[in-house]
C-alpha cells in the first residue's frame, strides 16, 4: 500500500490502481513512493490503472507523465491503462497529449504490452 493506494505485484510488474481523487500534494507524494517501491521490489515494469479517474487536469497528467519518465530512468517501463473517454477528450482538447507515455485500453492489454501472457 502507498497511503490508501494498493500496490500489487504480478511477477516483475508493479500494479498501481488509483481509486481516490488525488489532491496535488498526495499526487506528488505518490510519485515518490512509486519510485521507492520500484527500487524495493526490483520491478521491470509498472502499470498505472486510472479507470477510477473521471477527470484528469494538467497537474495530475504531468505527474503521471513524469512518473513514467522517472521510472524509465530506473529501467522500468510504464503503461497507463484505463483512461476514460471523457478524460482522453478533455486532455487533447486542452492541448496536452502526454507525449512519450505508453497507454493501453485496459489492464489485460497493458500487461500484454509488457510481455505478460494471460491465459484465456
Amino acid at each position: 500500500m502507498i497511503g490508501s493506494v494498493p500496490i500489487l505485484r504480478i511477477g516483475r510488474t508493479l500494479l498501481l490502481s488509483i481509486q481516490l481523487e488525488l489532491s496535488d500534494a498526495v499526487a506528488e507524494t505518490l510519485q515518490n513512493d512509486v519510485l521507492l517501491a520500484i527500487e524495493k521490489h526490483g520491478t521491470s515494469s509498472l502499470v498505472i490503472d486510472i479507470t477510477g479517474f473521471d477527470f484528469v487536469d494538467t497537474y495530475v497528467a504531468r505527474i503521471l507523465a513524469e512518473t513514467s519518465k522517472m521510472a524509465r530512468l530506473m529501467g522500468t517501463e510504464t503503461v497507463i491503462v484505463g483512461m476514460r473517454p471523457e478524460v482522453a477528450a478533455t486532455l487533447v482538447r486542452m492541448g496536452y497529449t502526454m507525449e512519450g507515455v505508453r497507454f493501453a485500453l485496459d489492464l489485460d492489454e497493458g500487461l500484454g504490452l509488457l510481455g505478460h501472457v494471460i491465459a484465456r
Partner: protein
C-alpha cells in the same frame, strides 16, 4: 435572459480547496443534466482555475451558479483573486507559457473546454475568470 437558480461562494485559501471546489462543481454539473463529457470538461477547467488562484495569486474565492436560459441548464463559475494579475495575457492565452515552470496549459486549455470564457486582469490588482458550461439542447 439568463436566470440564476442557485449561487454559492467558496473561499480558496489552501491547496485542499482545489479539491473542495471542483467536487462541488462536479456535483452541480451532474445535477443539471450536463453529459459526462461536459461534466469532465467543466470539472477540469475548475481544477485548473482554482489552482491558479491558489498558486499564482495566493488565494481568493469561487462563485458557483446554476443558471438557465429557459430552455436548458448551465453552470457558471467565477474565480476571483486580488493577486498580481497577468502581465502578458495574450501570451498566456496562447498556451505553453508558465511563470511557475509548469505546463502553462491551465488557462488556454480551460478556455477550450467551456462554452463561455471571460477573463479580466489588471497587473497589481487581480484576476477574474468567468466560465460557463451548458447542457446540450
Amino acid at each position: 435572459m439568463v436566470e440564476v437558480i442557485s449561487r454559492v461562494e467558496v473561499p480558496i485559501a489552501c491547496e485542499d480547496d482545489v479539491v473542495v471546489v471542483r467536487r462541488r462543481v462536479r456535483v452541480l454539473a451532474g445535477q443539471r443534466q450536463l453529459d459526462s463529457f461536459a461534466v469532465a470538461a467543466v470539472t477540469t477547467a475548475t481544477s485548473e482555475l482554482v489552482r491558479n488562484v491558489f498558486v499564482h495569486a495566493g488565494g481568493g474565492k469561487a462563485i458557483l451558479e446554476e443558471v438557465t436560459d429557459g430552455t436548458r441548464y448551465g453552470l457558471r463559475a467565477t474565480f476571483i483573486d486580488e493577486g498580481p494579475g497577468i502581465d502578458d495575457l495574450e501570451r498566456v492565452l496562447r498556451g505553453g507559457y508558465s511563470t511557475a515552470h509548469t505546463m502553462g496549459l491551465g488557462l488556454s486549455g480551460s478556455r477550450r473546454l467551456v462554452d463561455r470564457f471571460e477573463i479580466e486582469t489588471e497587473p497589481g490588482k487581480g484576476t477574474c475568470v468567468k466560465i460557463e458550461k451548458w447542457a446540450p439542447f
